[in-house]
Symmetry: C3
């Protein structure tokens, strides 16, 4: 149920300090850290001697020392020391995984190690580019990652789930504006929607600095299996489109287990870059918005577990993009099941810059 | 394990206001409400689109609106609105169940809908009759409903479980007074017991207004599958039986799941009708009594789950009424399994009024 | 997975007063008490009538009265009273188990009752001998008892798990001192280690009364299936071995369930017998030490459940004693499976007194 030959976000770069991180990814408990010479490390969180998680021990220099009997493991997963003896049993090692930093995130590859080409890391350069400013955070979601993909590809839910933040209660619901859905390269889905002359929901009133009527557009972009980007543009109706406030919202999902997901997010903007109050305001508003999604998604996950997916679900027009994404995921899962060395190169999420999308439509 | 073609209590009438109730009945999660024109509604608590419980959304007028994508469902379970499109998929509906108010309770029928004849609702008119006064409440019990039936049909447990309320510790235990058990119409069990000249347990001292010796009698009445009535009569030994304080205690059980039960109860009395302090005193004392049963029953349920019912149980004389009731239940379960349209008309719980029983014995 | 024909500790003698104890042993819930004439009782904690645990009722004299319907059971497990009837059904009895007090502990035999010879109780007389002084306690450990055996037979973990109490962080780790392992009578394992001229860890500085360099030795002694004794000796390097402070640390393990263990422990010393402050100091330090083990063991148990024991574990030299003990346990389990009347007589844990071991080495 997980694509293995792909790069997932293991954490933010800034999380990696002198200690280590214990995190489960694709249902495998891992220890993650950065060595003193800047190399990233991901290893199984399990001592091969008595199975104690290495995260219950401590980091000693650039090695992990088990907290029970003191066996030590290097950044390569090799055992370097067994108390009470000088020879090291050949089986005394832990598995490691390719891992590296890019764009302010640390990426991990859980599939065949020799296929881990860093050129395959999705381009999300806005996150740490000097021309953009990022407000970021993390949510732990007790739901399968595909439910988050569904959520992010059909933004009509904003009217109902986010009426206090990025949606609103007025008669023009987001669903009333048809989305145009396109599929590219068998692994990317875009759903674009224009919403001219609507009342600014609370979040956008914050961004603009006052309540007003706005022209708004949004592109939900999905790269199989779990990279999502929402491009949002707004400007007051009396201003020019060329002066729009553009946000690139990254939703980088990493399956923790079949029923839970690490949700690394960043709202990256191209305006008022030095306004730290706005950076913090966007962070808080985004966190509040994703809290609302978390409630819905965790409730949906419990319901699906209870019903054991036996209940047929009714499809509606709004499901077009989510259904296309699910089909691409199923295709890719089948490819990888048939060929464990199957790899796909990710196309750019945004062709040139985000305006390109706007002109197309 | 549940009889379906029968009326269960879904709630007290007074619970139904402008909002809605989310309640699981016979292991099915339901949304319950009363429309603005007084019609009662019970529907599956599950949106057919993405399976989110409708109770996570909101009531809009007399419809339920899903909290995820805004689909709306009428009191008939029909979808009335799908955001983003005008046609309604034919599969977009939720199941509804016959439901109606009677005697201050709201009753639901989970079996074949066309068999739901309101004449089959058990007569518990005392609950909202002007000649009686009710003190009522609700307990959530983490035990199968048949364990509650057992409990209510053998009142000898009062000596041990309720020594602080309706039992007492004196040498004459309730078990010392033999109960006479009768079965009627293949669906009703009565167990009657007379206890002349005993010390009034705390609850009855409250009812009479002082400690004293009393004549006491009790009839445990059970209607398959889960309607129970305890008729209790007491008077000081120096007074006449005709002036006895009579209580009709309703124990209306609705299975929530195989391991839990909704327990709607009401202590209804024929004396001091305007004494509000007594009404509240009886409510508190009854709640405390049922708290004691809850502890025992939940402990017994855990034990039975642990032992997986493999341990043979020893039967004693006191089990006569509970065993007869269990046999009637098994019979009726078999009938309904063979014929899903099997229905039984409930006989009156009390032939004329509660004194009739007393004369008989 | 449990040896049945052996004596396990059911509790400390001092726990047995006028009430009763509810405790699960070898996955069986039991009621334990001492009658007014000093006889010990162990019976199933389950009324045969409605299966309610007898521990939810009360002790009446030397009998247990069920808290639901008042049935009473004598110290022999026979039903003595059924409310509402005079004859006692022959099936109305609960199982009892051989149980008796020795050395300040109360011992129970869960196997074939006629084999329960009190001569088979392990000799741990130091616990209540006038020549020794005991500091004792109890830990509930959510781990299988064999993980505790492993822990107690390889004391090298002190360096890593107990660096704040009986281990220390200095370069000489305990593992650096080789242990000599011997097996006796197919049921006893000893692992002895001498550690001359080391810095006293905090616990031993407390015992000696000051920081200093010490000669230290330790014998880990294990009697299948779950009796453990650690003999620890220390003296300042400038003093004589004959004047050493000797501690006999009893670790008497009783399986509660496959995943949890009752851990009755006592640190018994041969010095400063009247120093009550030291007795309490040792009790606190021991409890803190076993708290550290508890954390590791419970973490290991969860990991093993998660991995379902499918992961091969790497063996190292330090595992010699634990592996020998596990083999003896497997042998004995096989013997008992083939012959349910198989019994083994326990040899003395310490040949004469603890110095004997020291001379040998």
């Amino acid at each position: 149920m997980f694509i293995k030959n792909t790069w997932y976000v293991a954490g933010f770069e800034k999380e990696f300090g002198e200690s280590f991180i214990s995190r489960r990814i694709l249902d495998l408990p891992l220890v993650l850290y950065r060595t003193s010479d800047g190399r990233y490390v991901a290893m199984d969180d399990c001592c091969p001697h008595r199975l104690l998680p290495l995260s219950k021990g401590k980091r000693v220099g650039d090695e992990m020392q088990c907290g029970y009997h003191g066996m030590c493991f290097s950044a390569d997963g090799e055992c370097t020391h067994v108390p009470g003896q000088t020879n090291i049993p050949s089986a005394a090692r832990v598995a490691t995984y390719p891992i590296e930093a890019r764009h302010g995130f640390v990426w991990i590859w859980m599939g065949e190690a020799d296929l881990a080409d860093s050129a395959l890391i999705p381009d999300v350069h806005w996150h740490n580019s000097p021309e953009w400013k990022s407000s970021q955070g993390y949510h732990h979601i007790e739901a399968n990652y595909t439910l988050l993909n569904d959520n992010l590809l059909d933004l009509s839910h904003e009217t109902y789930v986010h009426s206090r933040t990025i949606g609103n209660d007025e008669e023009e619901s987001i669903a009333a504006y048809a989305a145009k859905t396109t599929v590219e390269h068998d692994c990317l889905v875009r759903a674009h929607r224009e919403m001219p002359n609507i009342e600014a929901p609370p979040f956008f009133a914050l961004v603009i600095g006052r309540p007003c009527r706005i022209n708004r557009w949004q592109s939900a972009i999905h790269l199989v299996p779990s990279i999502n980007l929402t491009v949002v543009g707004v400007h007051p109706v009396e201003e020019e489109r060329a002066d729009a406030r553009i946000g690139h919202v990254l939703h980088l999902l990493t399956p923790e287990s079949p029923g839970s997901t690490h949700y690394f997010w960043a709202f990256v903007r191209n305006y008022r870059l030095d306004d730290e109050e706005l950076t913090e305001g966007i962070r808080k508003a985004s966190a509040a918005t994703f809290d609302e999604d978390k409630q819905i998604l965790e409730c949906q996950q419990k319901q699906m577990e209870r019903l054991n997916s036996k209940v047929p679900q009714v499809a509606i027009k709004l499901d077009e993009a989510p259904i296309r994404a699910r089909r691409l995921l199923e295709q890719r899962l089948e490819h990888e099941a048939r060929n464990p060395r199957h790899v796909m190169a990710p196309p750019p999420l945004v062709p040139q810059h985000s305006f390109a999308i706007l002109e197309e439509v």
